[in-house]
C-alpha cells in the first residue's frame, strides 16, 4: 500500500507510543484464520454486532423509559406512539433479543458439533457460557421493564425460584425485591442491572476474544493449524464473509422488525401489570423454554430448580465431560448422530415448555429431561472411550485441496468421510 510519507510517519509515531495500528494489523487484518471455515463460523461475529445493536437501541430507549410501576407501561406506550421512531427502536431491541439468542444457540451448537470446546479451548468455551448466562439474566430483567402482565408474573415466578433455597430463601427474595412483592423498587433496580449488565457482557466478550486469539479458531476438520499454508489473513477474506453473512442475517432480522414485530412476543404483555390477576397461561420468553420444561418435569420444588440450573451450568464442564480426543463430529460417526438427537431433544423440550404441564406432556417432559442429562453425563464420557472414529486428516491445506481442486464428485460443503 502506498502511503503519504507524513501519514506513515505520524502512524509510526503513534504506534511507537500506543501500538494500535500494529495491534489491529495483528488481530483483524493479517490475523491468521483457518482457510476452511464454513458459514457456521459466521455466528460469532453476528452475535458481536447484535450486542452492539442492542446496546445502542437500549441507550436510546432508556432516554425515554421510566422505571416506576405507575408510569413504566405508559412510558413504553409513549415510546411506541409519540417518540420519533420509538416504535423502531423498541422493535429492534425486542426482536434483537430473540435474534441474539437464536444466533448464540447456533453458535453454541456449532461449537458442540465441531468440538470447539476441547483442549486447548476450554477457557474460551467457559467464557462463552458465561456470556450466555449473563445474557439470560439481562434478557429476563429487560422483559420485566415494560411492566405488562407477563413482565410482572414472569418476574414473580422467576424470583420465587430463590425461595427454594433452604433457610435464607424467603429473606433473599425480599432482598431481591426490595419489598414484599415485585414493585417499584424492584423495577428500578432491574432497570439499573439491565443497563449495567451489557457492559459486563462486553467485558466477557473481550476475554472470550482474547482467548480465541491465543488458541486461534477451530475449524470444520477440528485439527490444529500446522503451517501458514493452513491459514488465510482475516482481512479481506473473513471480513467480507462475515459482512455477507451479517447482511443475510439483517434481512431476516428486519423482516421480523418491520413485518412481524410481535412474532416473538406475548399478547398478554400488552396488558398493564395487575398484581390481582394472574394470566391463565404463563410462559417465559421462547429462549428459556427448554429450561422451563426441565423445571416443570421435576415433581419437587427444590429439585426442579436444581435441575433447571444444572441444565445451564452443565455447559461449563462440557470440555471435561466429552472425553473424545477427536474434535470434529465429521470423524465421529456415533457422536454425529447423537449430536442431532441432542438438538432434537432440546427443541422438543422447548416445544414442551409451552404445553400444559399435565398428562402425556409431563411424561414426555421427564423423558426429554432425562435424555438431556443422559447426553452430557453418560453418552459423552462413554463415547470418548468406546466410539471408533474415522481417521483424522493431517493438515488443513491438503484436505482443502482435495475438497476444492480434486476430481472427485461435487460434494463441496457436505459432510464427506475421507481417508476412510
Amino acid at each position: 500500500m502506498k502511503k503519504d510519507n507524513n501519514t506513515s510517519r505520524l502512524m509510526t509515531w503513534i504506534d511507537d507510543r500506543l501500538p494500535i495500528f500494529s495491534y489491529a494489523n495483528k488481530n483483524v487484518i493479517d490475523y491468521p484464520t483457518p482457510k476452511n471455515l464454513n458459514y457456521w463460523w459466521n455466528f460469532g461475529s453476528i452475535a458481536g454486532i447484535i450486542l452492539v445493536i442492542m446496546i445502542i437501541t437500549g441507550i436510546f430507549l432508556a432516554m425515554n423509559y421510566q422505571p416506576h410501576t405507575d408510569v413504566a407501561f405508559q412510558s413504553v406506550e409513549r415510546i411506541m406512539r409519540d417518540v420519533n421512531y420509538g416504535w423502531l427502536l423498541r422493535y429492534l431491541h425486542m426482536n434483537g433479543a430473540s435474534m441474539f439468542f437464536i444466533v448464540i444457540y447456533i453458535h453454541m451448537f456449532r461449537g458442540m458439533y465441531f468440538g470447539s470446546y476441547k483442549n486447548p479451548r476450554e477457557i474460551l468455551w467457559i467464557m462463552g457460557v458465561a456470556i450466555y448466562v449473563t445474557m439470560m439474566a439481562t434478557a429476563f430483567m429487560g422483559y420485566v421493564l415494560p411492566w405488562g402482565q407477563m413482565s410482572f408474573w414472569g418476574a414473580t415466578v422467576i424470583t420465587n425460584l430463590f425461595t427454594t433455597i433452604p433457610l435464607v430463601g424467603d429473606y433473599l427474595v425480599t432482598w431481591i425485591w426490595g419489598g414484599f412483592t415485585i414493585d417499584s423498587p424492584t423495577i428500578n433496580r432491574f432497570f439499573v442491572w439491565h443497563y449495567l449488565m451489557p457492559a459486563i457482557i462486553v467485558g466477557i466478550v473481550i476475554v472470550h476474544l482474547w482467548a480465541l486469539h491465543v488458541t486461534k479458531s477451530n475449524n470444520p476438520l477440528g485439527i490444529d493449524i500446522k503451517s501458514k499454508k493452513d491459514t488465510i489473513p482475516f482481512h479481506p477474506y473473513y471480513t467480507i464473509k462475515d459482512l455477507f453473512g451479517f447482511g443475510v442475517f439483517l434481512i431476516i432480522f428486519l423482516y421480523f422488525v418491520f413485518f412481524q414485530p410481535n412474532f416473538f412476543a406475548e399478547a398478554d404483555n400488552y396488558i398493564p401489570a395487575n398484581p390481582m390477576v394472574t394470566p391463565p397461561h404463563i410462559v417465559p420468553e421462547w429462549y428459556f423454554l427448554p429450561f422451563y420444561a426441565i423445571l416443570r418435569a421435576i415433581p419437587d420444588k427444590l429439585g426442579g430448580v436444581i435441575a433447571m440450573g444444572g441444565g445451564v451450568m452443565i455447559l461449563f464442564i462440557l470440555p471435561w465431560l466429552d472425553t473424545s480426543k477427536v474434535r470434529s463430529a465429521r470423524y465421529r460417526p456415533i457422536f454425529k448422530v447423537m449430536f442431532w438427537v441432542f438438538v432434537a431433544d432440546v427443541l422438543f423440550l422447548g416445544w414442551l415448555g409451552i404445553r400444559p404441564s399435565e398428562g402425556i406432556y409431563l411424561t414426555w417432559g421427564r423423558i426429554a429431561t432425562f435424555y438431556y442429562f443422559f447426553h452430557f453425563l453418560v453418552l459423552l464420557p462413554a463415547l470418548g472411550k468406546y466410539e471408533k472414529c474415522y481417521p483424522v486428516p493431517d493438515d488443513i491445506s491438503e484436505e482443502f485441496l482435495k475438497d476444492h481442486c480434486g476430481d472427485t464428485d461435487d460434494t463441496d460443503g457436505k459432510e464427506e468421510k475421507t481417508n476412510a
Binding site: I56, T57, F60, M63, N64, R78, R81, D82, V83, N84, Y85, G86, L88, L89, H404
Partner: protein, 182 residues
C-alpha cells in the same frame, strides 16, 4: 480459488469496493437517523405547544407569567405611560434596535418570552414590587441586563431583545400563545 481471483481485473475490483463502501455509508447514515431523531421533542411534547390565557384578570399595570412549552412567558398589561415611554424611545440608540410597534399586536399588551437573551436567567419585573431596572421593564439578576417597557435590551451583556413568542388574540380577553392553528 487463485484461478478465480486472477480473473478479476483491478478496475472492476476498485469499482466494486468504492460502490459497496458508498452504499454502506449511505445505509449507515440512514440507519443513524432514527436514533438521532428519537431524542427530538416527541409528539406528546409538540402537542402541548399552545397555551391559552385569560386576560380579564390582569389589571392595567400588572403582569402575569405563564408557562408555554415549559418556558416562562411574560404578559404585561402596560399603562399608557409605559406605552408612551416605549414608543418615544424608538429612536434612541439601542443594542438591538427595534420599534415598539414591531413588538406588539395591541399596544396595551406586551407578550415576551421571559428568558434573558444573555445566558437564560429569568429577569425580574413582571410582578408588583419587582426590581425593574433603570428602564422600567425588566432587570436580570444574574448579570445585570436591563430591558425597557417594550422588553428591549438597553444595557448589560445580553445581545438581543426579549423574544416574542407566536401568539394571537382569540377574542378581547383570551390570548393563545403558540401555533395559532393548534
Amino acid at each position: 480459488m487463485s484461478k478465480l481471483l486472477g480473473k478479476i481485473s483491478c478496475p472492476k475490483r476498485e469499482f466494486l469496493l468504492a460502490s459497496t463502501s458508498t452504499l454502506g455509508a449511505v445505509g449507515a447514515a440512514a440507519a443513524a437517523w432514527p436514533f438521532i431523531d428519537s431524542i427530538n421533542p416527541a409528539a406528546d411534547v409538540l402537542a402541548v405547544s399552545s397555551t391559552e390565557v385569560d386576560l380579564s384578570s390582569i389589571a392595567v399595570g400588572e403582569g402575569l407569567g405563564v408557562l408555554w412549552r415549559g418556558k416562562p412567558v411574560f404578559i404585561k398589561h402596560r399603562t399608557a405611560e409605559e406605552i408612551k415611554q416605549a414608543q418615544d424611545e424608538d429612536s434612541v440608540e439601542m443594542i438591538d434596535p427595534q420599534t415598539d410597534a414591531d413588538r406588539v399586536q395591541k399596544t396595551e399588551w406586551l407578550v415576551v418570552i421571559g428568558i434573558c437573551t444573555h445566558l437564560g436567567c429569568l429577569p425580574s419585573g413582571h410582578l408588583p414590587g419587582d426590581k425593574k431596572g433603570e428602564f422600567g421593564g425588566w432587570f436580570c439578576p444574574c448579570h445585570g441586563s436591563q430591558y425597557d417597557t417594550s422588553g428591549r435590551i438597553r444595557s448589560g451583556p445580553a445581545p438581543l431583545n426579549l423574544e416574542i413568542p407566536p401568539y394571537a388574540f382569540k377574542d378581547d380577553t383570551t390570548l393563545i400563545i403558540g401555533d395559532a392553528e393548534a
